[in-house]
């Protein structure tokens, strides 16, 4: 664990779906902490519980047991109605399938995240514009989301995630739908922006290239965290 103050603390988080014979432990007693400005990559095979864990960390799914604390706020102790405020003020999301609003322009997609947090008008326009220019999209500000390439969409998605200066950025397979070149560029953008603005980042992915930008790599398998080296070796069919 990083020595800096933890922005994210996960304690014995378990998520069980179904009951009796159909019961599945998607996440099983996971504990870790992520320090301020740290980039943590969570890897693991398909069905290992990565996305379920990320959904729990973002306050979109309540764990069956355990605690999730973001910047001192215990999400698991909060009422459901309080969670949207945590998400808009403390968490940014980057999704595998971008999840941009197709009917809005690139700039409006970033602005809307600011609007949701109560920032409007010129302040929102200026912040959105600056982020998109930093993301290399100066010539695409007024393009409809549906008219952007995959790489451009993910850049807009990253700009949107950072719009409200969240302490924690959660990225779900951010390079999965991109070709090699775009994947690398997006990966680098995520790293540069996070480091420049001091965001804590948790990325879940299959993409081993993301290890290049990660400060730490965790291995999740069958809902449990394991030693990364052995898990990665198993993934490649080797023994450690």
């Amino acid at each position: 664990m990083n020595a800096t103050r933890p922005v994210l603390t996960v304690e014995s988080v378990t998520k069980v779906f179904g009951t009796a014979r159909t019961q599945v432990r998607a996440v099983d007693g996971v504990s870790f902490a992520v320090g301020s400005g740290e980039i943590v990559l969570i890897m693991g095979p398909s069905g290992s519980g990565k996305t379920t864990l990320l959904t729990i960390l973002g306050g979109l799914l309540r764990p069956t047991s355990g605690r999730v604390v973001i910047d001192g706020l215990d999400l698991t102790a909060m009422r459901p109605a309080e969670l949207p405020r945590v998400r808009r003020e403390h968490v940014g999301f980057v999704f595998q399938s971008f999840n941009l609003l197709d009917s809005l322009s690139a700039q409006e997609n970033v602005e809307v995240a600011l609007n949701v947090a109560g920032v409007g008008g010129a302040a929102a326009r200026s912040r959105a514009r600056d982020l998109l220019i930093t993301a290399g999209l100066e010539g695409r500000l007024d393009f409809r989301a549906r008219d952007l390439s995959g790489g451009e969409k993910q850049r807009v998605s990253i700009a949107r995630a950072l719009a409200n200066r969240p302490q924690l950025l959660l990225a779900d397979e951010p390079t999965a739908n991109l070709d090699s070149r775009n994947g690398h560029e997006v990966m680098q953008l995520l790293h540069d922006l996070a480091k420049r603005e001091g965001h804590t980042v948790v990325v879940v992915s299959h993409d081993t290239r993301l290890q290049d930008i990660a400060d730490r790599v965790l291995w999740l398998e069958d809902g449990r965290l394991r030693d990364h080296a052995s898990g990665a070796a198993q993934e490649r069919g080797l023994t450690v």
């Binding site: 979109l60 009917s103 809005l104």
Partner: protein
Amino acid sequence: MVPVARRNLLAEKGRLAMSVFGVAFAVLLVLIVLSLYRGWSGVGKIITRLPGDVWVTQTGTNNLFRSSSFLPADRAGDLQAIPGVQLATPVYSREMGYERDGAAYNVLFMAFDAPPAATALLPQATRDRYFPEPGQIDIDSVFADKAGLHAGDTMDILGQTLRVAHVTKGGSAVLAQSAFINGADARTIYGTADMVNFYLITTQPGADAAAVQRQLTGIIPNSEVHASEAFSRALSRDVSEGFLPVVSVLVGIGIVVGGAVVALTTYTATIEKARDFGVLKALGASSAYLYRIVITQSVIVGVLGSLLGVAASAVSTAVIARRIPEFITDLRATDVAIIFVAALAMAIAASYVPVRRINSIDPAMVFRA
């Protein structure tokens, strides 16, 4: 603020157009029916415009159009002698069919049989309109339009040829229009030298109308006295009571159709954008923010549809008035305002189902590819 609602609607321009037209047609239906109702409800004014304010009729006569009344023709002097009476005019009145170029028209022929000297105190316009010279007839413009008659034309009425002297407005009572002839011609046409239908009393300015009515009562045996206002209300009530149930049903249908169109539009737009709403929820959007988007979508459709509907109503009532003159329409600003507000309320109410749908959207869906 990013206009998410507007963008959502404009993303499907065809559907937006159909929705706006749907609401517009609903508003058009409601306003046209209401304007017809208002117009028809006001037909009683045809009576209050006549040159007098109190009627003496045969007992049992409660409606100037739909009742028969016969009184002796020689009692005008007795009525005239009552204090407060300025003029007591014998009235011949009969609704008859009039044929011209193979078409038949219902016309209420009336004659105010006052001697010229007695009408001298009345305004010139009143005399021109209601007291034509022998051989002349003054007709209503709706009847004139339908029958293709103009000033100077002649009309044959039961063997009597009359020349149209004036064409005037305000004499249509939906199912019949009024025409005024000279008293002498009326006696010839009707063949009732010793009978009149009514006496129309003009009270003196400042006279106590109620007191005059009381004193008129019983002067002529088997007669009764009515204020013009009462006859006017009776006629309006006859027309509106027959029309009101139809109006209520059509207005109800219009509101339901309009509400359904708005609800369907916003619901479809919400379903289609369910993922977008899920994304906004994941980003931390409050329920109020999301509801505002849905309600704004509904209000945009409601406002655009209402504006178009109001404009179409204004054009339609003008066209109806020109093409079908007996369809008296009265499109009132207050009705337009009420329907506009009702349409907005309907649009907001129509947001209820989509809002419930939003509540059921799981924001965790955004992690599903």
